[in-house]
């Protein structure tokens, strides 16, 4: 396949290519969805995304943990030193609204809904069961068209079993589905013993979609300061491969909609995602890197490629290269792994200096 992007305007024919897809029961004009990033904090950006061709947006996450930490932090500092000394029974003015609840986020959801026609998917990152339910309901009331649960539990306790943690995810989705009427997707990390089993359980529990995969801050070591510092880099297309791999495996095996996120930078990436079996391809890093207008060129390239390769619709290609659909399913499985390893070993051997 040739490298994209192409240039120039779409032809009349290209403009009529059917990009429609559906995701979480939402009818979308294309598979180009913008996913959670700081860009989402500004409604103007969301409006621009719609104008540039986004078919839906996933808002930045409402982080329960962040709200909690901010609450604790502010409470701690507003309390420190108070009622200790006769002359200064407090040190900061008592403001009537500290803006610490989810209200700002909820207002943002409503504002985004008012600003654009495309579906607005709210994203929620919680750590406690009670809050998930409460916030999910509030997001629904605020007008979100769907909900994406941004889940990631970092297992550090050796006594916690994998099955215990798996069950947490399953309980979570079933609890939330029992509470809200809007569709719910779950954004997963790739760190499960069996992703297909997990996906299947989540689907059974009611998940309307699965988003593969989350990306995380990774700690780096500062050798001068002997300190650990968290880092987050923008995704690269190389990261797409793992996503394609699992989407392709899951397509047809689980009943939920699948979405790719992480590494989608170009029309090529979108096409691959679709062929692997995704309903939508979500973009963040590319927009941070190239700007929101990048969406236009992705869509343009998509249309050009589809006409050139005689695809009438996105729907036509969805899952066409999934595990179930390809000629050599082994390519997704262990044999492929062995082959790559062997090739790698060989390559290494060839590069090694002569003995002695």
């Amino acid at each position: 396949m040739t490298d994209l992007p192409f240039t120039g305007e779409n032809t009349e024919q290209e403009r009529h290519v059917d990009l429609r897809t559906s995701y979480l029961g939402l009818r979308l004009k294309s598979p180009l969805v913008c996913s959670a990033s700081p860009l989402m904090e500004d409604v103007d950006n969301i409006r621009r995304m719609e104008e540039a061709g986004a078919s839906a947006v996933v808002l930045h996450s409402l982080f329960e943990e962040q709200l909690t930490l901010e609450s604790f932090d502010l409470d701690h500092h507003l309390f420190a030193g108070t009622d200790s000394f006769a002359e200064a029974t407090s040190y900061l003015p008592e403001l009537s609204d500290l803006g610490l609840g989810p209200e700002r986020y909820l207002e943002h959801v409503t504002a985004a809904k008012t600003a654009v026609e495309i579906p607005v998917i709210a994203s929620l990152n919680c750590v406690s069961a009670g809050s998930w339910l409460e916030y999910a309901t509030k997001l629904e009331q605020a007008g979100a068209d769907a909900l994406e649960l941004n889940t990631y539990f970092l297992a550090t306790d050796p006594d916690r079993t994998g099955s215990f943690i798996d069950a947490m995810y399953v309980d979570l989705i079933s609890d939330i589905k029992a509470r809200v009427k809007i569709p719910v997707a779950m954004k997963l990390s790739p760190f499960f013993s069996s992703i297909p089993h997990m996906a299947s359980r989540l689907a059974t529990a009611g998940a309307d979609g699965l988003v593969l995969f989350n990306r995380f801050y990774q700690p780096d070591f500062d050798l001068d300061q002997l300190e650990v510092s968290p880092t987050l880099t923008l995704s690269t297309p190389a990261e797409l491969l793992m996503r394609l791999h699992w989407i392709a495996i899951l397509h047809g095996r689980v009943t939920t909609d699948l979405a790719v996120t992480g590494g989608v930078h170009s029309a090529t990436d979108v096409l691959k995602s679709m062929m692997a079996g995704a309903r939508v391809a979500m973009m963040t890093s590319a927009l941070l890197k190239y700007g929101i207008e990048h969406l236009r060129s992705v869509e343009r390239d998509l249309r050009t490629w589809m006409v050139e390769h005689e695809y009438e619709s996105i729907e036509m290609m969805q899952g066409s290269m999934s595990h179930a659909a390809v000629a050599e399913p082994g390519a997704f499985e262990r044999a492929n792994y062995m082959k790559v390893l062997r090739a790698g070993a060989l390559a290494f051997k060839n590069q090694a200096p002569p003995a002695g």
Partner: protein
């Protein structure tokens, strides 16, 4: 029906003042500051006044400024008010004469407070308002929170009609800070009482170019007098107008007041006359005595000025034969205090002209009570009334203290009480950091809201800013509470910190059969054995029921840290049964939700969790059988046996919260106290202390430098001295070449450390095996205490290093010098005190300090103990505080005096050189004192001079004449002035930027050799974080609840503009080297020097252990560019301006959003905060460009101090 509110006196007065005003000028001063804070907060929330518009609230640079602004606003036709106390009122006096002289309706609300005399006091008496008697302001006194609310409105109503301005006075702390349930007035009440016609008339009198007049003329002997007398009709009518306002108020609210209120027997023979909150205690005593058949009474003066003698006399029972007038002020040297004299005059005048309604001329005596909030109880009232029954009642008496010097004291029986059985009285001992006071305020609100009970709370704090003890006194009664004194017989006592059981006589305030709740780390079965014998005895003798809870453990479990407030509050409700238990828990839950909702759901849940888990941890203690012997320990002496006598006899009593028991003779009569007494206090407030890892320490001295309490010290000493060291005493090989054969030690004073952790954060060394560890690390104090106490004592006894061998420009070296400022009561992690400690190390042995009122005067000079101390030679900083506003002038006066004495001494040395010896005289006159060594040499010369002088005129010169002898004596008296003296003028930004700026500017212009150190926390820290002109744009502060909209004043560049002033802007956390260079240059500069020191502060709202890192960020973001402006450089052809920090390398947000004072606004009003931050970022850039331009002006190459 009136709305009930549970508020304090300040809020009670402020609510009315706000509703009744259009312009509010404010300035912080304890205890009146909260009134201004409320006004500012309500205005920032756009709350309307009684006419539906938001009053204009403006902070001024001083109380003088506030009075001026009020005066102007009044002249321009507005309804204007202000709030103040003490020195603040004194600063308003000139304007008050004007406002009254022009017959302008206005009200100033006063939380009455002592005027500083031999000492500052923030507490209550009437010396301030009595100093305002001559201004022509009416003076209306309130005696309770309800009255402060009501009288505020009466004052606003009466002033409009009377055209006499009013002081509305209530007692500082006792009323201003007492929390009570009251019936609240609303907008309609205010509108109903304020006369529209009178308001219109006031507006018509406004200065206006549409109907111009001239007001404020200068008058000559021909007419001034007559014009002054022209006001009389207004004053003649004022009392009647107030009475009419009282009547109208009663008609509307049902609450009746009178100008002069009599309580007691209608046929009383003995009457006590007083005003203010004391009337509460007096009323209780009189009622009790009258019920017992005594013919006694109380006359409560509400309207003190203008005094309506006829109404006053009419209020007294005609049968009265003996009157005691009690004044809450002292006017030394007079025949009596003001109220006494007024009463005497009124009665005598009426007797003389035959108008007196009294049957006979009573014997009237005067006495003093309650100065600086000294307790005034019903028992004392009884004593005064008993004194009146004696054959010759004592005049000029004092009550409430033991005057063993002039015998003026009346004794009293402390056991006599008027407390009623149906009042629940509870006393709580807590720490500032544990939330006890906040919880109790909450409890009062709950009971005020959920029950019909009347509630009262009064809170007593100690004098320290860190680790301070709080005592809460709560009363709940089915009837209105008039007790205006502390609880002495509590039915419920709670001790929220176990260590208090030893430090304080917790059960001293318990009544028989009381309930005692103790937060204890010991289980119910083990706690008895851990108590001191004193407490065991009290528990047994008083038949106390005791409960324990390990609240600290539970608080940790639920993530509350040291805050045990919610837990202990739940226990109180469960045990006191002031509400049915289930209802009480529901009420606490609801109140918790309400209190913390704003702070986020997680905080609410944490507190609810604490409530839900509390009762499972609360246990009743089964006390041992009364027949068993007491097993507790005896409480040891408060201070070590080798402490000086004054410390043992006096200071220790104050430390033990027992200062009330000290007699007059124990006190110095002129306010002079010994230095160096904090070292005897041993407060043990740090949960953790730093522990030295001698193996990896690089001996840089940074931890010593930044320690706010001078509790980490370093020394090098002879290794031989280690032979007697305690076993755990640590040493290392010194990393100095000249000291290579000696020993180095870094030692912590374990019982003085506050555990702030600043030292650990600045330690540059990391342990290579465990990166979280440094060369000092925090560890729990308790297990280390005994061993480290011994180590500290040993270390303290080691000799100090010879300064002559040190390079004082280096931190490493100068931190081997003994600090002469130690163990202050400043906040843990204070950003100011490290600069003072450094100052004391560098120049302490020759320094005189003038200290502006503020944090530094409080931690520097608040009894019981003083941190300024001496070196082994007995030398150290001599320190004094004059006022807030005059500190620059105060220090300048010291300089002038020292210079004059030095000049005179030099003249004497010169003229007496033959007798002294030419060589010695010449050496003294010519000796170079620019270095430490030079100063030392001069000191030795002066010693020789004094020896010589003491022999002159004696046996050696039997023929010396009287004139010569006088000259020898003069020189002997001032010879020490021949040694160089360093004068330091120290204060905060409130002083330097605002109230003291005029004086500061004058001193800057004087060119005299003083060193000014501004400890810039960017707010009025001591009074609770109000905005000053040093507050940066975008920061929230009190009086700037919406974020300060204007940029920080650039005091440094303003001073540099003089050209001949040394100026440095420093931040120890960004460059300690530049800090030290600035101090040394400033001190050596032979003219005026100004150092502006970035001082992180608890009011900034972040964990102060990161204070030095924040300082660094302040510099790196350009908020605080470092520079030194040294006029001496100009003489060398260089640019005097040196920039010591680099171009801002980080956005301002990296610095500001670590601090709550900024983040709180970003959360509450994100868009507004964003705009302010953008403007602040522009400030930074422009300021940098400005600095850079100045530094580059004539010398492009700048010498960085880094």
């Amino acid at each position: 029906m009136a709305q009930r509110a549970t508020i304090d006196g300040n809020e009670a007065a402020a609510r009315v003042a706000y509703l009744a005003s259009e312009v509010v000028a404010i300035y912080p001063i304890t205890p009146a500051s909260p009134m201004g804070e409320w006004a500012d907060q309500w205005a920032s929330e756009c709350k309307a006044n009684a006419w539906g518009t938001v009053p204009q609230v403006i902070e001024m640079q001083s109380e003088g400024g506030a009075a001026g602004a009020v005066h102007g606003a009044l002249q321009a036709g507005s309804l204007a008010t202000t709030f103040t106390a003490s020195q603040g009122l004194l600063l308003m006096l000139p304007n008050m004469f004007k406002i009254a002289g022009e017959l302008t309706p206005a009200v100033i609300h006063i939380a009455a407070r002592s005027v500083a005399t031999h000492a500052l006091s923030i507490f209550c008496d009437h010396s301030d308002v009595m100093a305002a008697r001559g201004t022509g302001f009416a003076m209306l006194f309130a005696g309770s929170v309800q009255e402060a609310h009501d009288m505020a409105l009466i004052a606003h109503a009466a002033t409009l009609k009377a055209r006499v301005p009013f002081l509305h006075i209530f007692d500082g702390f006792r009323t201003s800070h007492e929390v009570a349930t009251i019936d609240a007035l609303d907008k309609d009440d205010v509108r109903a009482l304020l006369d529209d016609e009178a308001i219109d008339a006031h507006r018509r009198r406004a200065l206006s170019p549409d109907h111009p007049v001239v007001r404020g003329t200068a008058q000559n002997p021909d007419v001034f007098f007559q014009a002054r007398e022209a006001i009389n009709p207004r004053y003649d009518k004022a009392a009647d107008i107030v009475q009419a306002a009282f009547d109208a108020f009663a008609a509307r609210t049902g609450r009746r007041y009178d100008l002069y209120e009599y309580v007691g027997a209608p046929d009383a023979e003995r009457v006590i006359v007083l005003m203010g909150s004391a009337a509460g205690a007096a009323r209780e005593a009189v009622n009790r005595l009258v019920n017992a058949g005594k013919k006694v009474g109380l006359l409560n003066i509400r309207l003190y000025r203008p005094l309506h003698s006829a109404r006053l006399l009419a209020a007294l029972p005609p049968t009265v034969t003996r009157i005691a007038a009690l004044d809450r002020t002292k006017e030394p040297g007079g025949p009596g205090e003001p109220l006494y004299l007024d009463l005497l005059a009124a009665v005598a005048r009426a007797q003389a002209d035959g108008s007196s309604p009294l049957t006979s001329m009573p014997n009237i005596v005067g006495g003093r009570y309650g100065l600086s909030s000294k307790e005034f109880t019903p028992a004392m009232v009884r004593s005064v009334l008993q004194g009146l029954a004696t054959e010759r009642p004592r005049h000029d008496f004092v009550i409430g203290i033991d005057d063993d010097v002039t015998g003026r004291g009346l004794g009293w029986d402390p056991a006599w009480s008027t407390e009623s059985d149906d009042t629940l009285r509870a006393v709580f001992f807590g720490l500032g950091a544990d939330g006890t006071v906040g919880a109790n305020k909450n409890t009062i609100k709950i009971i005020g809201a959920e029950t019909e009970l009347h509630a009262q709370g009064y809170f007593v704090y100690d004098s320290k800013k860190s680790g301070s003890m709080t005592v809460s006194h709560l009363r709940f009664s089915p009837r209105p509470i008039s007790a205006t004194y502390l609880i002495d017989k509590a039915s419920f006592v709670a001790c929220h910190q176990f260590q208090f059981t030893e430090r304080i006589d917790v059960l001293g305030r318990a009544m028989p059969g009381a309930t005692f709740l103790l937060n204890s780390p010991h289980a119910p079965d083990d706690v008895w054995a851990a108590l001191p014998k004193r407490m065991q005895r009290q528990l047994r003798e008083l038949g106390i029921t005791m409960y324990v809870i390990d609240a600290a453990k539970l608080a940790r479990e639920v993530g509350m840290g040291r805050r045990i407030n919610t837990i202990m509050q739940t226990c109180f409700f469960a045990l006191s049964e002031v509400l049915p238990r289930a209802d009480a828990i529901d009420a606490i839950r609801a109140a918790t939700r309400k209190t913390y909702a704003k702070r986020g759901e997680a905080v609410v849940q944490k507190n609810l969790d604490a409530i839900d888990r509390t009762l499972d941890h609360l246990h009743k203690v089964t006390l041992p059988e009364p027949t068993t012997a007491l097993s507790g320990f005896e409480i040891g002496a408060r201070v070590a046996a080798d402490a000086p006598g004054f410390v043992r006899d006096v200071t220790a009593m104050i430390m033990d919260a027992n200062g009330d028991a000290l007699p007059v003779s124990a006190m110095p009569d002129d306010g002079t106290f010994p230095v160096g007494t904090t070292r005897f206090e041993k407060r043990n407030v740090g949960d953790e202390i730093p522990v030295w890892d001698e193996d990896i320490c690089v001996q840089c001295g940074k931890c010593v430098l930044v320690c706010p309490h001078a509790t980490i010290r370093a020394k090098v000493f002879d290794t031989a001295l280690c032979e007697n060291a305690p076993v755990t005493f640590k040493t290392a090989k010194p990393r100095w070449k000249p000291f290579a054969d000696m020993a180095y030690s870094l030692q912590v004073a374990p019982e003085d450390c506050t555990g702030c952790g600043l030292c650990v954060q600045v330690c540059p060394v990391k342990n290579k095996r465990q990166a979280r560890l440094k060369a000092i690390n925090m560890q729990p104090q308790a297990p280390l205490r005994d061993a480290e106490r011994e180590n500290w004592a040993f270390f303290d006894g080691l000799p100090d290093v010879d300064r002559g061998q040190l390079n004082l420009a280096k931190v490493k070296d100068n931190q081997l010098i003994q600090p002469l400022f130690e163990f202050s009561g400043a906040c843990a992690g204070c950003g100011e005190t490290p600069y003072l400690s450094l100052l004391s190390q560098l120049f302490g042995d020759r320094t005189v300090i003038a200290n502006a009122t503020g944090c530094s005067s409080i931690y520097g000079g608040n009894l019981p103990t003083t941190p300024w101390t001496t070196d082994r030679a007995g030398r150290g900083p001599a320190w004094s505080n004059s006022l807030f506003e005059d500190n620059a002038e105060f220090g300048l006066g010291m300089r002038v005096a020292i210079d004059k004495q030095q000049a005179y001494a030099r003249e004497l040395v010169s003229s007496l050189s033959a007798e002294i010896g030419y060589d010695l005289a010449a050496a003294i006159l010519e000796g170079d004192q620019s270095t430490d060594a030079g100063v030392d040499t001069q000191r030795q010369r002066v010693v020789r001079l004094k020896e010589r002088l003491s022999t002159l005129g004696g046996a050696e010169q039997p023929t010396a004449g009287e004139h010569a002898k006088r000259r020898y004596a003069d020189l002997l008296a001032i010879a020490d002035e021949l040694v160089a003296k360093s004068v330091w003028i120290v204060g905060g930004d409130g002083w330097a930027y605002d109230i003291g700026f005029g004086g500061l500017d004058h001193v800057l212009a004087s060119g005299l050799n003083v060193n000014i150190l501004v400890l810039d926390t960017e707010v009025y820290s001591n009074t609770g974080g109000q905005m000053s002109k040093a507050t940066p744009r975008a920061a929230v502060a009190k009086f700037a609840a919406g974020g300060k909209p204007t940029a920080k004043k650039d005091l440094g560049l303003m001073a540099a503009g003089y050209g001949n002033v040394y100026v440095a802007r420093i931040a120890m956390g960004a460059s300690d080297k530049q800090t030290i260079a600035a101090f040394r240059e400033a001190e050596s500069f032979p003219g005026t020097s100004l150092i502006i020191a970035y001082s992180h502060c608890i009011a900034h709202g972040y964990d102060m252990r990161h204070g030095m890192q924040q300082q660094d960020l302040a510099v790196k973001t350009g908020h605080w560019p470092l520079f030194r402006f040294d006029p001496r450089r100009a003489h060398q052809g260089k640019n005097p301006m040196q920039l010591d920090s680099r171009k801002p390398s980080l956005p301002l947000s990296r610095y500001v959003y670590n601090e709550t004072r900024y983040t709180v606004l970003a959360r509450a009003r994100p868009k507004h905060a964003e705009a302010l931050l953008a403007a602040a970022q522009t400030d930074v850039e422009e300021r940098w460009q400005n600095h850079e331009r100045l530094a580059a002006a004539t010398n492009p190459k700048t010498d960085t101090g880094n």
